[in-house]
């Protein structure tokens, strides 16, 4: 089955081409008949490939040579292993159900065919990103999904906010991509290839500085794509796109690409302890900061957006402390529950005629029970309440953080878990329960969404409730999920036993050389000891669950029970804080003032410089030449150059006046001149020669 893996991205590509060429004119409202089955086939093939991988069949599918120039040799080839199989399942499952949901959600939109065209293109690029066997191909997917994100955020391009948000997303991502590309080149420069297999085999040959720089540069790319500090600002704005897009691209799949990249590069990151620390700290800070902002937003989708930023931070925290499998696990569970949250929010929007302000919602459970129920399940998963999905993965990450000695990050992460539960249930209570605050013109329109939208909700709710069980521990006290990923995440994957052994020695030797091995070993030892004896994991679990429950309780007391009035409370005691959070720390404004407008100023400055100075010199040269020519014409010419010419003419004229008198026409006169002349000549001759 693995050798047919290349078909998985081909289906959505075909869907894209058909809808792209004929959608606008001919297919129109039937676009889903092409787009959705294409995704269905992809999903089916992904399941088959996944089952194959489950039985241990992995491999590379090579298609054709792409860029062959000098020392660059990039093939279009797909790598099917445990990690890409997991990602395949996440991407195709979510994509399929969100496509189905879109049939209902986008039903009345005039750009229906365009929507599905873009969505299929997105899935194609996402699958290239996941399946590509080299950083170059990953970059193709990486930029491609960025493009689709741009197109879909700006889908309602007539709204300026949407068009601006799309542009912001693309350009912010480009900044990250510049880092990614430099990271890629660094690896290629030192290792001579961009292929994962070659790079990971040779990674030990990199000096510690180089591997640190390369991994940090790659991480710059990840901060762009996965919305981490300092490049996270585009994601909340991206909510301008249609809600299925927010669910698919800006929650479940595309934004997790950075996490996938870091996990994929785990061999490199393991060699660069400093980079790992950076990843962990950035991830944790982002998680915390975004969660704090999330507590003060009133726009339902924005709450979810900040929540996504925050959860992505958790994933990076996991990767940064070496728990790559836990990071990917959280990626998977998050895809389900956050995708679901967005879809349910979309269902709310659908009913509320696109109103998103939670202050004018309330008691929606009466009108839309399925939406309310599924939203709540997802919220429980996000809040980390057992046995829902988020609990397992978040707990795994926090435990790793603690056992690797990052106590402060662990504390911050746990506190963030409390905040997460708070803002999530704040949203639940404000939206679905309590007093109805809905304006009259909307309330008579309220209804549960059609089946084509609720069935995906239910399916994803089942997922959000159950996928966490992959995190259960097996007999060796390792989570099933981590054990499955172990071949890719912890050691080299090689075809033959010899190559495998060689790779192992290589890694050991190299790591020893860099001192990374000691660090890793020490870390693992400490972890094992701590897990086993001093600090049982169950205590950590209890702490994080209690944090979650506390958050929910606080939200309950504030928004449902009205034990204290939040508005008055906020205004009286914490209004500066609230303002700070409500305005998202003014980060957008700061970036605007410090960077964006400065670039614009610089560009106008350059242009003026170009016009006045550089072109000024050219025109100046021409002016000097022309002036010189003019001076020549009016001054020099008449008196000097022309003067000589005219002078000569004048001389001739004068001469002619004189000589005219001689020309009388009388032969006698001429005879006289001749005689006079002769006389003169003879006289001169005599004087000169004889005397």
């Amino acid at each position: 089955m693995v050798k047919y893996a290349w078909l998985i991205p081909v289906f959505p590509l075909v869907g894209f081409i058909i809808n792209g060429l004929f959608g606008l004119k001919y297919i129109k409202k039937k676009a889903h008949l092409i787009a959705v089955p294409a995704l269905g086939l992809s999903w089916l093939f992904s399941i088959l490939v996944f089952l194959d991988v489950l039985h241990g069949h992995t491999g590379t599918v090579e298609l054709f040579d792409w860029i062959v120039s000098g020392n660059i040799h990039i093939k279009v080839a797909f790598l099917v292993d445990q990690l890409s199989a997991v990602m395949l399942m996440v991407v195709t499952t979510l994509s399929f159900w969100i496509h189905v949901y879109s049939i209902g959600y986008m039903g009345h939109d005039p750009g229906y065919a365009r929507f599905f065209t873009y969505l299929n293109l997105f899935v194609f690029f996402m699958l290239i990103l996941v399946l590509g066997s080299s950083y170059a191909l990953m970059f193709v997917g990486w930029e491609g999904v960025g493009l689709c994100s741009y197109l879909l955020i700006g889908y309602w391009y007539e709204r300026d906010s949407a068009a601006n948000a799309g542009k912001k997303a693309f350009i912010t991502n480009r900044i990250g991509d510049a880092g990614f590309i430099m990271g890629m080149f660094t690896l290629w420069y030192y290792l001579g290839s961009l292929d994962y297999k070659v790079i990971f085999e040779r990674a030990h040959m990199l000096s510690p500085e180089v591997v640190t720089i390369a991994t940090l540069l790659l991480f710059v790319g990840a901060t762009g794509k996965s919305a981490q500090i300092p490049l996270y600002v585009w994601l909340p704005d991206a909510m301008e796109g249609p809600t299925p897009v927010s669910a698919l691209i800006h929650a479940a799949t595309m934004v997790t690409a950075g996490v996938y990249m870091v996990a994929r590069s785990n061999v490199l990151y393991n060699l660069a302890p400093f980079s790992m620390e950076v990843v962990a700290v950035v991830g944790c800070l982002t998680a915390f900061m975004a969660a704090t902002i999330g507590t003060a937003q009133y726009d339902l989708k924005r709450v979810l957006a900040y929540s996504t930023v925050s959860q992505l931070g958790y994933m990076f925290l996991g990767c940064g402390v070496g728990a790559y499998a836990a990071g990917i696990f959280h990626l998977m569970t998050h895809a389900f529950f956050k995708g679901l949250l967005f879809l349910a929010a979309g269902s709310v929007m659908h009913a509320m005629m696109d109103v998103l302000d939670m202050r004018i919602m309330g008691n929606l459970k009466k009108f839309m029970p399925i939406t309310a129920g599924t939203f709540t399940i997802a919220a429980l998963a996000l809040a980390g309440i057992p046995p829902f999905a988020g609990f397992w993965s978040k707990d795994e990450i926090l435990a790793h953080t603690f056992y690797t000695g990052h106590y402060f990050l662990w504390f911050l992460g746990t506190f963030t878990a409390f905040l997460t539960a708070y803002y999530t249930f704040r949203a639940v209570f404000m939206t679905f329960t309590g007093r109805e605050r809905i304006p009259h013109e909307i309330s008579h329109h309220l209804h549960e969404s059609p089946k084509v939208m609720t069935i995906p909700l239910i399916f994803l709710a089942i997922g959000a409730a159950t996928v966490g069980f992959f995190g259960l521990k097996n007999a060796e006290h390792k989570p099933y999920f981590g054990a499955f990923l172990a071949p890719v995440i912890q050691e080299h994957k090689a075809e033959t036993p010899e190559a495998y052994r060689e790779a192992q020695t290589v890694v050991e030797g190299a790591a020893a050389a860099h001192g990374a091995q000691e660090a890793m070993g020490a870390r693992e030892g400490a972890e094992g000891a701590a897990r086993g004896e001093e600090f049982p994991e169950i205590v950590l679990v209890v702490i994080s669950v209690v944090a979650g429950l506390l958050g929910i309780t606080l939200a309950y007391l504030t928004f449902l029970k009205k034990a204290f009035d939040p508005v008055i409370l906020l205004k009286r005691y914490t209004w500066p804080l609230h303002r700070l959070l409500y305005h998202k720390y003014w980060v957008d404004e700061i970036y605007g003032a410090l960077i964006i407008w400065r670039v614009v100023d610089l560009s106008y400055g350059s242009w003026k410089f170009d016009q006045w100075i550089i072109d000024g010199i050219v025109n100046g040269a021409s002016w000097v030449t022309k002036t010189f020519a003019w001076v020549t014409r009016v001054a020099t010419e008449p008196f000097v150059v022309d003067g000589a010419v005219n002078g000569a003419a004048e001389l001739v004229r004068t001469g002619y006046r004189v000589f005219r008198r001689i020309q009388t026409g009388l032969v006698e006169n001429y005879m006289l001149y001749m005689v006079l002349g002769l006389f003169l000549m003879v006289t001169v001759y005599i004087f000169v020669n004889i005397l």
């Binding site: 120039s69 000098g70 020392n71 700006g154 007539e158 430099m182 420069y189 040959m205 990199l206 180089v210």
Partner: protein, 548 residues
């Protein structure tokens, strides 16, 4: 070493046929009644198209395994001066030749509607221009080359000066004088090399191959000759700070003129560097790398910043050309195979992408008679097909993977990175800014609500516009997905060029490969590997030629 003047598998002068066919067409048009506008248009297009079709066999007949010139025609022309009529192409000029015939056919087709007066003269000028451009790429005798180089200026001067916009005369004269100014320095350099060649060999000749293989130019003289050629070519590229004629010329030129200007004429500058400066003055070339890299990096960033500030669409695209050509120059002077291949590929890419962008602007100008960005907005709603073509062209220009621009940029940047990573880091900022000005342009013209009533009723693309945009879009996708044939065409030629201009490159490459192999196969035993830094950590002196 005995110079090899190359071969001709066709056995008949195919390059001359391709070069002079447009001229013959132009001569024929002289005798056509100027009232028969329709006939003139279609005839000119037919000539350009036939010319493109007869240039295609070159692609298939080209021998990719040799760097010697092919399809050669060589005989004595002016005996007294030793001038030869010498045509021939290698992997580099072949690509540019094909680009020229391809773009000219498209440019002619695109002018059908736009040109409303003096049609006959216009199409004659276009065809003469094509002959001039093809001659430049095919000539291997420097006298002949110079003749074509100057001939080409005249029709372009008329194209801008007669069929241009308001300030056309200013722009035309500026274009002409600026270029001529540079060319004269090149002429002096050519003449002094002519005497130098006579001095060394006792033979009078302008033959390029003889010059390259039989003449060693002493270092001090190389320096000056390089500068003379540099001035001529840098103005043509145009490299910062010699670029200011370009925005004016582009803004004032008719659409087809801009297409040819951006698509082909600018390539003559970079082609000149590749063909003449690099092999003839290899020492001076290496000496001047930092200087040219600096100017190129300024061009990349500065051009992009200027583009960001423009209000006129054509001017924006013109400044973006400055930025893109900066990358072409930077990559070329990395003097390694990736850099040079990327540079040449990027010439092709820039030709088709920027050509397409000018066509896009032309299409919208024909409908609205303005190029000011603020006059537009919300066009996506009115002209969806046009918006799609514009989008694809824009994406190609900003280097989105899957389209041509990416392949060129990636290869260029790789080459530059290999030479010096700092240069690459600067060049990458151009990529970011490129996305900035292009997306902003697209947003301001295509997105948003329709704010200007004049935009409401405009027509979407017609059949003729479909016909000339589609081949361009196909070329974007083809190069983006399967660029291998193009790399194959130029590979041997470029490798040879690298050997000429940067002979150390391959030597060092072999050393590093050996080092890498050693480290790979004996990881534990390798002494310089066991404890200290990796053997692959480049020392200062080696950094310019990294490992493969």
């Amino acid at each position: 070493m005995q110079p090899n003047f190359g071969t001709n598998v066709f056995g008949f002068p195919i390059l001359s046929l391709i070069t002079y066919l447009p001229l013959a067409g132009a001569l024929f048009l002289l005798f056509v009644n100027k009232e028969k506008v329709k006939f003139i248009k279609y005839f000119a297009f037919a000539v350009a198209l036939v010319d493109f079709f007869i240039s295609i066999p070159l692609w298939f007949a080209f021998d990719r395994t040799t760097w010697h010139f092919q399809f050669v025609e060589r005989f004595s022309w002016i005996k007294a001066l030793g001038v030869e009529y010498y045509f021939g192409v290698d992997g580099i000029s072949l690509l540019l030749l094909l680009l020229t015939t391809f773009l000219t056919a498209i440019a002619v087709l695109s002018s059908f509607n736009y040109i409303q007066e003096r049609d006959k003269e216009y199409y004659i000028a276009m065809l003469v221009l094509e002959t001039g451009m093809l001659g430049v790429f095919a000539s291997l005798d420097l006298f002949l080359f110079y003749v074509f180089w100057e001939v080409m200026l005249v029709p372009m001067y008329f194209l801008i000066g007669i069929w241009g916009y308001e300030r056309r005369l200013y722009a035309a004269i500026k274009f002409f004088l600026y270029t001529l100014f540079g060319s004269l320095f090149m002429l002096i350099a050519i003449i002094s090399m002519y005497f130098l060649y006579h001095h060394t060999t006792g033979e009078w000749s302008f033959n390029y191959v003889k010059w390259v293989y039989n003449m060693h130019i002493p270092g001090g003289l190389q320096f000056w000759l390089f500068l003379a050629f540099f001035l001529s070519f840098a103005i043509k590229v145009p490299l910062f700070p010699f670029h200011t004629w370009l925005p004016d010329a582009h803004v004032e030129a008719p659409t087809a003129g801009s297409v040819i200007l951006a698509g082909v004429l600018l390539k003559m500058g970079t082609y000149g560097f590749v063909r003449f400066s690099l092999p003839l003055f290899s020492e001076a070339t290496r000496y001047f790398i930092p200087f040219i890299a600096l100017l190129s990096i300024i061009a990349i960033i500065y051009g992009a910043l200027c583009a960001l500030a423009q209000e006129d669409m054509k001017k924006l695209v013109a400044y973006s050309s400055v930025s893109h050509m900066g990358l072409v120059m930077l990559a070329m002077f990395a003097l390694n195979p990736m850099g040079l291949q990327g540079s040449i590929l990027q010439m092709i890419n820039h030709g088709v992408s920027t050509g397409a962008l000018f066509l896009i602007v032309g299409i919208i100008y024909e409908r609205r008679h303005t190029r000011l960005i603020r006059e537009f907005g919300g066009l996506s709603k009115v002209v969806p097909v046009f918006a799609t073509f514009f989008m694809i062209t824009m994406l190609s220009s900003i280097g989105l993977p899957g389209l041509n621009g990416f392949i060129g940029e990636f290869t260029c940047l790789a080459g530059v990175f290999k030479y010096n990573w700092r240069y690459a880091a600067f060049a990458v900022t151009g990529v970011i800014l490129g996305a900035g000005y292009m997306l902003w342009l697209y947003q301001r013209t295509m997105f948003g609500r329709i704010t200007n009533e004049k935009n409401i009723g405009i027509a979407d693309m017609n059949l003729r516009e479909w016909i000339y945009m589609t081949p361009l879009v196909i070329s974007f996708i083809w190069i983006g997905i399967y660029p291998k044939p193009i790399f194959n065409i130029m590979k041997v030629t470029v490798d040879h060029l690298v050997e000429q201009v940067n002979p150390d490159y391959f030597k060092q490459k072999a050393q590093h490969e050996a080092k890498l192999k050693k480290a790979l196969f004996y990881p534990a035993k390798s002494p310089d590997f066991a404890g200290g830094p990796s053997p692959l950590k480049m020392s200062e002196g080696e950094k310019s030629h990294g490992l493969d």
